[in-house]
């Protein structure tokens, strides 16, 4: 029997990548994935230099095309050949792109391209390398066995397709957009949402002076802030788990149900925002077991942030869409118990607050500290949450109500007997009598 007879072909098809992979991600997230590549470029370019002064990312959205332009260093032909355009990350990458990167799976850029349209131009300049890749999806898909992308170099690149003006950087232009994408890109609501999401996900890079624009409008960063004053300070715990640096902050912020919860970052890219799901320790359904708390608006002042950082981004516990955490990832599993203990400290404090007013009085005169700003130069935070004393414990915590129904005539009789007029008093006195007789104090 020949070897080939008992073999089943399991090769992926091109249409699998084009039609299936692109369904798993929302358009705004796909665009952020492209912006992530710019950030990785910036990280590569600046290395130890913390500041991104002068670096820009410019996104243009229109009915006919999508374009993202950056001057963040571009990528070399070597990286393009052995890394950036491969579907998935090679096991032993010949070209290592960048330490502490956000790109992890080798799927983000391709997925974004295929999601949006049928024609792409990718122009990149990095030192000596300057090249242009042009792909027409309808043509490319025809030959199942040929997975190559061809490119033009230097002088072969037609002048009308050059957009980089001699600077190191990358420009991606997607045209022949799918109709739904085209509609979405010029929808104002979508643009506003994208701005907000970009500002949040890339908050850290914007803080480091990277300028990001959408249709010429600069994007402001959004950060999460903790409140701090004498006697009220977030806790800070640092751990190293399997080469991943883990930093946990937990404390209080202003009263806001939509901002309460956990913020999770992987290599400074936010992957979960204000999360109140089982993943970060909140009880969602009755069946959820373990060390968890059900979210309630009494906890609307809770803020937690956890940063996973690693030189090798494949060690980070994020999902391919970077919109969540892989909750079965060993690093996350190991870090989660510490997160939950941290959360309990804050929640137990919030539970004791009488009401929203007491909560607000406690944060009076406090100072806002932006998490991204303290992250790199940690003040002397302790591993335990510092909180002020609250008013006397809620009466409701100390006492419980008991209700029961008893024969009306008998209760009336008892009222006369005890010399009281309210049903509640009868209940209370008979209860005390039972305790006294049984010497239960």
């Amino acid at each position: 029997m020949s070897k080939d007879q008992n073999v089943i072909k399991a090769n992926p098809t091109k249409s699998f990548f084009i039609d299936m992979l692109t369904r798993d991600i929302r358009l705004d997230r796909a665009i952020i994935d492209l912006a992530d590549n710019c950030i990785d470029g910036a990280k590569n370019l600046k290395k130890s230099n913390q500041n991104y002064d002068g670096l820009e990312v410019d996104i243009t959205l229109s009915k006919s095309q999508f374009r993202i332009w950056d001057n963040c260093g571009g990528f070399s032909l070597d990286v393009a050949k052995n890394y950036a355009f491969m579907f998935g990350r090679p096991n032993d990458p010949k070209a290592k792109f960048v330490d502490h990167s956000i790109g992890r799976f080798g799927v983000g850029m391709k997925r974004a391209l295929f999601k949006m349209g049928k024609h792409f131009l990718i122009e990149s300049r990095n030192a000596e390398d300057y090249f242009l890749i042009e792909i027409n999806v309808d043509e490319w898909i025809k030959d199942e066995d040929d997975w190559m992308f061809s490119y033009l170099e230097h002088d072969d690149i037609p002048t009308e397709k050059r957009l980089l003006n001699g600077q190191d950087g990358t420009v991606i232009t997607i045209s022949d957009l799918y109709p739904t994408i085209s509609d979405e890109l010029c929808n104002r609501e979508f643009q506003a949402k994208l701005s907000r999401e970009l500002g949040l996900a890339l908050s850290y890079s914007i803080l480091k002076n990277l300028e990001i624009r959408i249709n010429d409008q600069p994007i402001n960063r959004t950060d999460i802030s903790f409140l701090e004053k004498d006697g009220l300070k977030p806790l800070y715990i640092q751990k190293t788990i399997s080469d991943v640096d883990v930093r946990i902050y937990a404390g209080v912020g202003s009263y806001s149900p939509s901002h309460a919860g956990w913020y999770v970052f992987c290599n400074d890219r936010m992957v979960l925002e204000a999360d109140k799901s089982f993943t970060t320790g909140w009880k969602e359904t009755k069946e959820d077991e373990g060390n968890i708390i059900k979210y309630h608006n009494d906890y609307a002042m809770f803020r937690g942030a956890i940063f996973f950082s690693a030189k090798d981004s494949s060690k980070l516990p994020m999902t391919t869409t970077k919109t969540g955490i892989d909750s079965d990832h060993p690093v996350f599993k190991s870090a989660r118990p510490t997160m939950l203990t941290a959360m309990k400290q804050v929640i137990n404090f919030l539970k004791k607050l009488e009401d929203k007013d007491e909560g607000e009085s406690i944060i009076n005169d406090s100072e806002k500290i932006e998490i991204m700003e303290i992250k790199d130069h940690v003040k002397n935070y302790s591993e335990t949450f510092t909180f002020p004393t609250t008013k006397a414990q809620k009466e409701a915590n100390k006492y419980v109500g008991i209700s029961y129904k008893k024969d009306k005539a008998k209760v009336e009789k008892l009222k006369d007997f005890l010399g009281v007029s309210a049903n509640g008093e009868v209940g209370s006195i008979t209860f005390d009598y039972y305790c006294k007789m049984n010497e239960i104090d």
């Binding site: 788990i241 203990t341 335990t384």
Partner: protein
């Protein structure tokens, strides 16, 4: 009302025996006066009986007492036997997460007087999420499920509802009976410990992985039926050294599903003295000594297993 107002802990013989067994075990594990980074966390009540022993016998001075009744603050401050005891106020579930667990090994004795409650599992979570290797965990509670008994039948559905996410889904009425309850409670605690450790160990190397070694599984009844369960938390790489200690050979150590049922004899002080004259001894030989057969056999048996720890109470008149 807290149980310290019902019992004087010193006069509960089984409790007293348990305390001494525990201290002896701790001495075997940690030695005496050798542990600057070892701390004790307990629920000492106004008698602080465990704290007195821990400080005197082990030489530990990093001691934390957790007490809920903040109204009794003055009384606790007054009764605190040593200055090295820090009083922390609040429920265990509130206080334990706020303890700084990274400062060193911890011995925690959750000496609850209530029957098993879901909040106790939160305390288990905190300890097993945070405590470093070579820490000791001990939990005591009332193991009776009397509250689920109505008209002589246990209501397992009500129990399962109360312990949702904590107990198995197929708990039966029989498992709630007084005879079987200690096994069920042990299983629930053990499962919870395992699930905590499995998360915590997920990303750790084999040597760093933490294992729990059950050492104590005791029941006794001074008044209410009580259950005590505990053991040693240890990095895997230290398991071999631990084995060398041969802790399992100690007569009161229980690492499996059999529990030690502590029963203290009801005998007079003269009888105690008479029995002591023939101890230590092999059980069969001790039980056949003619000179003391007037003491009921049942009491002699109980005494044989507990005599080294049996408390002697004397009324003092002045």
């Amino acid at each position: 009302m807290a149980s310290y107002n019902i019992f004087n802990y010193h006069y509960r013989p089984a409790k007293s025996i348990e305390r001494k067994l525990f201290i002896e075990l701790l001495k075997e594990l940690y030695g005496v006066n050798q542990n600057k980074d070892l701390g004790y966390i307990g629920l000492g009540s106004v008698f602080f009986a465990d704290f007195k022993l821990i400080h005197k016998e082990l030489g530990l001075s990093n001691l934390i007492n957790i007490e809920m009744n903040e109204d009794d603050m003055l009384r606790f401050e007054f009764n605190k036997p040593f200055s090295c005891i820090k009083l922390k106020w609040g429920k265990t579930t509130d206080v334990l997460p706020n303890i700084n667990w990274t400062t060193g090994k911890k011995i925690l004795w959750l000496d609850y007087d209530q029957s098993l409650q879901p909040y106790m599992f939160e305390d288990i979570d905190t300890f097993f999420s945070e405590a470093p290797s070579e820490s000791f965990f001990l939990l005591t509670c009332n193991y009776s499920f009397h509250r689920y008994l109505s008209e002589n039948v246990y209501n397992e559905e009500k129990f399962k509802k109360d312990f949702e996410g904590i107990c198995r889904l197929d708990v039966t009425k029989e498992e709630l009976t007084k005879k079987n309850a200690p096994i069920l409670v042990q299983e629930m605690i053990k499962d919870r410990i395992e699930s905590n450790l499995s998360s915590r160990n997920a990303a750790l190397s084999d040597e760093e992985k933490l294992e729990f070694h059950q050492l104590i599984f005791i029941t006794y009844q001074d008044g209410a039926p009580m259950f005590t369960y505990g053991g040693y938390l240890l990095r895997k790489e230290l398991a071999r050294d631990f084995k060398k200690l041969q802790i399992n050979k100690l007569p009161y150590v229980r690492s499996g599903e059999d529990f030690l049922n502590l029963q203290s004899p009801v005998v007079t002080t003269q009888e105690l003295d008479a029995m002591n004259n023939f101890l230590p001894n092999y059980p069969s030989r001790f039980l056949s000594i003619k000179k003391i057969t007037f003491i009921p056999e049942e009491e002699r048996k109980k005494y044989l297993t507990t005599y080294r720890y049996y408390p002697n109470f004397v009324e003092i008149r002045d």
